[in-house]
């Protein structure tokens, strides 16, 4: 059986290709600005350098998740990873028929189970699987897939519907709410770190890019070793170099993460040998392990590995990429777990890709753009196993793909809620609509309650002049729909005190229990604003 190449095949620059690039061209080109952080805005007409954070802003600087120390590492497989050759359905005659040259014979697989296996080139993952540190989610995708690398990549990171253009990324929206005062009181720790130049949409929030984007491991090493963004040591006494030194020093001073990075890099160390070059994940993963071990405080990481767009002569090229992935991830977890640190249990790694590939091979021993693909999860304590349904390889429509099995947004919901410990309200906010979590995919973490010292809910005081009344204070860094509710001890909502759009700034709600017909006792109140949820106890 031979199928025509399609979907942006490199061989035939047909209409699909043109279409793909036109779609992509609509992207906003605001590039990753993480390097400068947000500290470039004027506040009240004052340049930020002259701005001293108020105690309120200082309190808002830190994220609201300190009691959850889980970390998320995202590995983006650029180009569209071929799921079928990543996790193979063993003994499937359809598979071997669809892929006469590309199929991997059973004796070249290591067994995940009697039904599924992975190429032997990835057998460094075998210990992770057997020790319960690895899961596979089959056929992750979305309805009516788009086959453009760029458009589909944007859909995946913005968590939008197929026909919806969203200009922020799911992680960006999440972090914007974690760092409610990111612009006004920039943290000294990058909320996210990206090594590589692509996919900055993932971290784009409404007002800022939440990630520090370091273009390459080499650039990272320079920052980590010198504590500077741009080096000034080698400049000469020439006119030009003197001016250049001045600008570089100013840029270095504006780059507020340098010291944090340098400290973490020096405090951490790699305790295993990472795979040798060529391996494009090796250096980035070693950096991430090192700064995690050095307690940098960043919780979200992104690395890229490219070349998964395997239209031509896929087999060895793809196996080489999977080898890079497998050996780097293995080294990463060995490094984290070194000395029984237990760190491997705090770090979840997830692969994602803009789409999968056709289930059949094309005329040039490759595969073209397809629908869903498998997502791999790694991490201590997550167990092993499969989630979702493998692509249905029987009776494939020659121009269609088997429908996806797991919606990528449900994976995100599970990560946000179960792994990162966010309340469902926030998860809904980040994903734009309620999405179910996938039961059993990840160990659950209870949602963090708002911490009075660090959150937008500042707390309550007895009212200064009015006996029996309380002043409940909260601060918003953006105007937002606000709900302030009174709950009983068990968390059931009893009264809604505020349900309104409230402009940004500090606010006080005067709470008079008698007006709400509430008997004395112990209650909680909960603030929901800007996608964040905070809760405190109150007695009257």
């Amino acid at each position: 059986m031979k199928h025509k190449p399609r979907h942006g095949s490199a061989l035939e620059h047909g209409p699909a290709h043109e279409q793909e690039h036109r779609l992509w061209s609509r992207r906003d080109f605001l590039s990753a600005s993480g390097l400068l952080g947000a500290g470039s805005m004027l506040l009240g007409g004052l340049p930020v350098r002259a701005f001293q954070p108020t105690p309120l802003l200082a309190a808002l600087t830190a994220a609201n998740w300190d009691d959850n120390d889980h970390i998320l590492v995202l590995i983006r497989l650029d180009g569209g990873n071929d799921g079928l050759n990543t996790v193979v359905k063993r003994g499937s005659s359809e598979y071997y028929n669809l892929r006469p040259t590309l199929a991997i014979p059973d004796n070249k697989l290591w067994a995940l189970s009697t039904q599924y296996g992975m190429p032997q080139e990835t057998n460094s993952l075998q210990p992770l699987w057997t020790e319960g540190m690895m899961k596979c989610i089959f056929n992750v995708g979305y309805p009516s897939p788009n086959y453009s690398h760029f458009r589909s990549g944007d859909i995946i990171v913005s968590a939008s519907d197929r026909n919806e253009v969203v200009e922020t990324g799911w992680i960006g929206r999440f972090l914007e709410n974690e760092y409610a005062a990111f612009l006004e009181a920039p943290p000294s720790v990058p909320p996210a770190l990206q090594i590589g130049v692509q996919t900055n949409l993932l971290f784009t929030a409404e007002e800022a890019n939440m990630a520090l984007a370091v273009s390459s491991p080499q650039e990272f090493y320079q920052i980590a070793q010198t504590g500077q963004l741009f080096e000034t040591e080698t400049l000469t006494a020439s006119n030009r170099d003197q001016e250049l030194a001045f600008v570089r020093q100013t840029a270095n001073a504006a780059f507020r993460y340098a010291e944090t990075i340098k400290e973490a890099f020096n405090a951490g160390k790699n305790d295993v040998t990472y795979p040798a070059a060529p391996n494009s994940l090796s250096a980035p993963m070693s950096i991430i392990a090192r700064v995690i071990k050095g307690n940098m405080g960043t919780r979200i990481f992104l690395v890229d590995i490219g070349d998964f767009d395997t239209h031509v002569n896929q087999k060895n090229n793809h196996l080489s990429l999977l080898t890079q992935l497998a050996t780097s991830v293995r080294a990463f977890y060995d490094d984290l777990a070194h000395g029984n640190s237990g760190l491997e249990k705090k770090v979840l790694t997830m692969t994602f890709s803009e789409f999968g590939r056709t289930i059949y091979e094309n005329g040039s021993r490759g595969t073209d753009h397809g629908a869903g693909t498998h997502t791999l999860l790694f991490g201590g304590g997550i167990g092993n196993g499969f989630v979702g349904d493998y692509q249905d390889l029987s009776n494939p429509d020659p121009v269609g793909d088997p429908p996806f099995s797991v919606d990528f947004r449900d994976v995100y919901a599970s990560v946000l809620q179960d792994w990162l410990g966010n309340p469902p309200e926030l998860v809904n906010f980040v994903l734009g609509k309620p999405r179910p979590t996938i039961g059993g995919l990840l160990p659950t973490t209870p949602p963090a309650l708002g911490d009075n010292g660090k959150a937008a809910l500042l707390g309550h005081n007895p009212h200064a002049t009015e006996p029996g009344a309380f002043a409940i204070k909260y601060a918003l860094t953006h105007g937002s729909a606000v709900r302030l509710q009174l709950l009983d001890k068990a968390g059931h909502a009893l009264r809604t005190l505020v349900s309104d759009f409230v402009p940004k700034g500090s606010h006080t709600f005067v709470f008079r229990p008698a007006n709400w017909y509430l008997p004395p006792g112990t209650y909680q109140y909960r603030l929901m604003a800007n996608g964040q949820v905070f809760q405190r106890e109150i007695r009257f």
Binding site: R22, S40, S215, A251
Partner: protein
Amino acid sequence: MPAATFSLIENKSRLASATPALADSLDPYQPSPGKPWNARRVAHLYRRIGFGATFEQINQGLALHPSALVDQLLDAAAALPMPPVPQPEDWSQWTTAQYANNVGKMEEHRRYLRHRWFSDMLDESVRAKMTLFWHNHFVTKLYIVGCNAYTWKYFVLLHQYAFGNFREFVLAMGKNPAMLVFLNGNVNEAGEPNENYARELMELFTMGEGNGYTQNDVVEMARALTGWKASFNDCTPHFFDSTKFDNNPKTIFGVTGNFDTDSAHNLIFQERPAQVSEFVAGKLYRHFVFHDIDPAIVQGLAATLRANNWELLPMIKQLLKSEHFFEERFINSRIKSPMELLIPIMKTIGANSTTHALPIWWDDTTFWMDRLGQVPLDPPNVAGWPGHRKWINESTLTNRWKFASLLMSNHISKNEALRTNLRSLAQNLTNNSNDPAVIVRTLVDFFCGQELDAIHFAAAVEYFKNGIPEGYFTDGSWNLGWDEAPYQVIALVQYLAKQPEFQLM
């Protein structure tokens, strides 16, 4: 011109050996093997004399002798007609009474004037840069002057004398209603002198602080300048009221006479020619060459200014034609002003105001120039923008990055003609190469004028690839004809704009 010869970057070995044997005087620069007339030097001239050059202009410049190119550019700029009156509504003589019945027009006309200047910088380039220089020399502030018609007269005056006679320029400025209002000449009356203008006339406009005058000279000069009336309340034409003129003898620089505005101005040039000529020559030197003055060069320029009876053009030509000006050590050694950051990005890719720049561009530009610290007609004070390193601090630097990024994404990427220009630029510069490293190296040359280190160069290449899967580059299928090539150049420029090298010119 074959693309291979296009390089703004001086050969490194040549740089090393250049330092000892400098041909470094005001003599006209004669190209030589050691100091060639190449794209780098043509671009240097264009950046300093105006707001940069397109690929085509650089090629045209290479075909001329450096002196001939300087003559051509300056003669053309000096020969431009005076600015036509505002369009579509000629408000150049509107009084306050007229504005009273047209609420909102006041701001609209000010916006027009700012946009006009932005447009001129893009289109006229050389003259508009010179008027910006003189604006920063003879500062007025639109919102303090208050009267748009006065500021229009000021705007025209800057054009009239941009390359004209400095002595006449100073005198005309002393009688200009915007300046009369801004420095209180309009309330300087016999018996009630106001020293403000007299002091700045000597301190900031002609001689330099403490350079050849005394406090008594200021007092006496103020008396000589009495009698001028301009009302920013009414915005009616200014005039000389002889009844307010101090019609008594004054003693200035030790010379006694019944000086009035004209004769007192002449006295400055007559009694203090060395101070005045060296002061203005030094300021022009800093504008065109470098912030540290070379005293011998400036003295030479001052002599030229005096020898030409205060005509500015011969001095400016002498400087820009000189072998000193083309010395390697001055190329890319000056920190760009915000305007010098903004306009060249557009100018060098062939933008002009009629076809490419909508008013909304200029509104955004005003917004950003405010953050970067250079809104025309609004310098910080009478001393003007201090310039040089004062342009850059942590706030303005990061805002420069943002601004350049937004300029590319909000305006240039949305303009089809400019996207086409970007593609053509990359194609022309590289002989239509399909090697990203070659293209990036050449564009770094073009936009930064100097090389990036290996780490940042590698990152620049990645930005240029802009998410296009590697396979398209390695199998040779990608080329600059692709739909996204202009966007790739845009992504690259956005990245380059964040390099410290980009802040120099």
